[in-house]
Symmetry: C2
Subunit: 236 residues, 2 copies
């Protein structure tokens, strides 16, 4: 019945905030050993499970370090992690209040270059679908998409109509939950970026590369070139 003494209800959120405050304001410096869960539960007038959730989440966020028997400590150097949300390109553009347009520039089916064959572990005879697409924001080129799709793993992609629906959206519907590796890098503008994004040859281009697997098979590999000045931003 009696919960706290103060007006606030005991809650894992309040406890997280209070512990975060003590750490950021230096009350508990790097390396400090925190009181045990039972002790904190008494201090905050809540159950041990509530304290546990607070400390667990702060430890997942990289602020604290927990070990059985050793206790909970403030990390010496906080584990920094930035989380980037990867939206569908259409949603990204529309969220910015701009009009989205999609154009299929090229479509080809055939044997793959060596680099792609290695990535997809396909035999020389197997065919890949190669697509080149442009995504516009308010009529101006925004992103160029250079995609390879494994037709052995995704035969339906061979007959899908990519002239109106982008391959990314198609894939998300066909294979929604898959393993992904994503990279960010800088590259010199090649002929395609010059022609479709208006770059001068050799200009720096911000690029994303993504490879997608499902049940151990490589499904698709895509290289996304962004328009001049694009950046990926996150807070933490």
């Amino acid at each position: 019945m009696m919960t706290n003494g103060s007006l606030e209800r005991a809650s894992f959120r309040h406890i997280k905030e209070e512990i975060l405050r003590r750490v950021t304001q230096g009350e508990w410096g790097p390396g400090t050993l925190l009181p045990g869960e039972i002790e904190l539960a008494v201090e905050f007038g809540c159950s041990r499970a509530t304290v546990n959730r607070s400390l667990r989440e702060l430890s997942e966020a990289g602020l604290l370090e927990r070990r059985r028997k050793a206790g909970t400590r403030v990390r010496l150097t906080p584990l920094r992690q930035a989380r980037f949300e990867i939206p569908l390109i259409r949603e990204e553009i529309e969220a910015a209040g701009a009009a989205y347009r999609y154009t299929l520039l090229q479509r080809a089916v055939g044997p793959a270059p060596v680099a792609m064959r290695k990535l997809f572990h396909t035999r020389p005879r197997e065919r890949l679908l190669h697509l080149l697409c442009r995504h516009d924001s308010d009529g101006a080129p925004y992103q160029l998409e250079d995609r390879w799709i494994n037709l052995a793993a995704l035969p339906q992609a061979g007959t899908a109509d990519f002239s109106t629906l982008g391959p990314n959206e198609w894939l998300v519907r066909a294979v929604p939950y898959s393993q992904v590796e994503i990279s960010f890098l800088a590259e010199a503008a090649g002929p395609a970026a010059c022609e479709h994004l208006g770059y001068a040859s050799g200009e720096p281009v911000f690029m994303t590369e993504r490879t997608t697997w499902w049940e151990g098979q490589t499904l698709t590999h895509v290289r996304l070139a962004y328009r001049r000045g694009h950046r990926m931003t996150a807070r933490y």
Copy 2:
């Protein structure tokens, strides 16, 4: 006493895996309404709290969508999020098994350029510390660090010795827990990148920009230029 019926102990991990399996293998397609927590608890032979933790974590990971009264659904388009760990540059290099070396190239205190004054909200008279440093991996230039530090907010930085300890490590110790905004971008190599990282003028450079606040004050702003070919990679 009786827990499960099967040999496995009921655990939120097993439940997560099983639900993930049902979703990825298409048993529960996008938009599917999952059974309620109580129903799942009966199925898995565990308590509702255990089911709740499983579903909560899957929803935080972007796979599921939960609303009171409406229930738990498989997301139509999975919420994609990539998590990048941001290590100290020294740890990044040493983790790759290479030797780390740090060099302070320039140090200057003075009035700031307009762009920096805006960022730091300083008055014209206030001074900023400007540092240029290089981080080497196995003797080869790896990263160039161009940093501004707000001396009004961090007066100790004015007397710190940055000739042996990099400003990043110094800052992490002085102000461990702060707010950060980080961006990734591509830029043409300027004179500094050419001189210290061996770029040809105008070559594409992968860059990170980071601004750090603490208690509402802008503490520091840094631009990191990486050696040729660098990429940031994450899996999800």
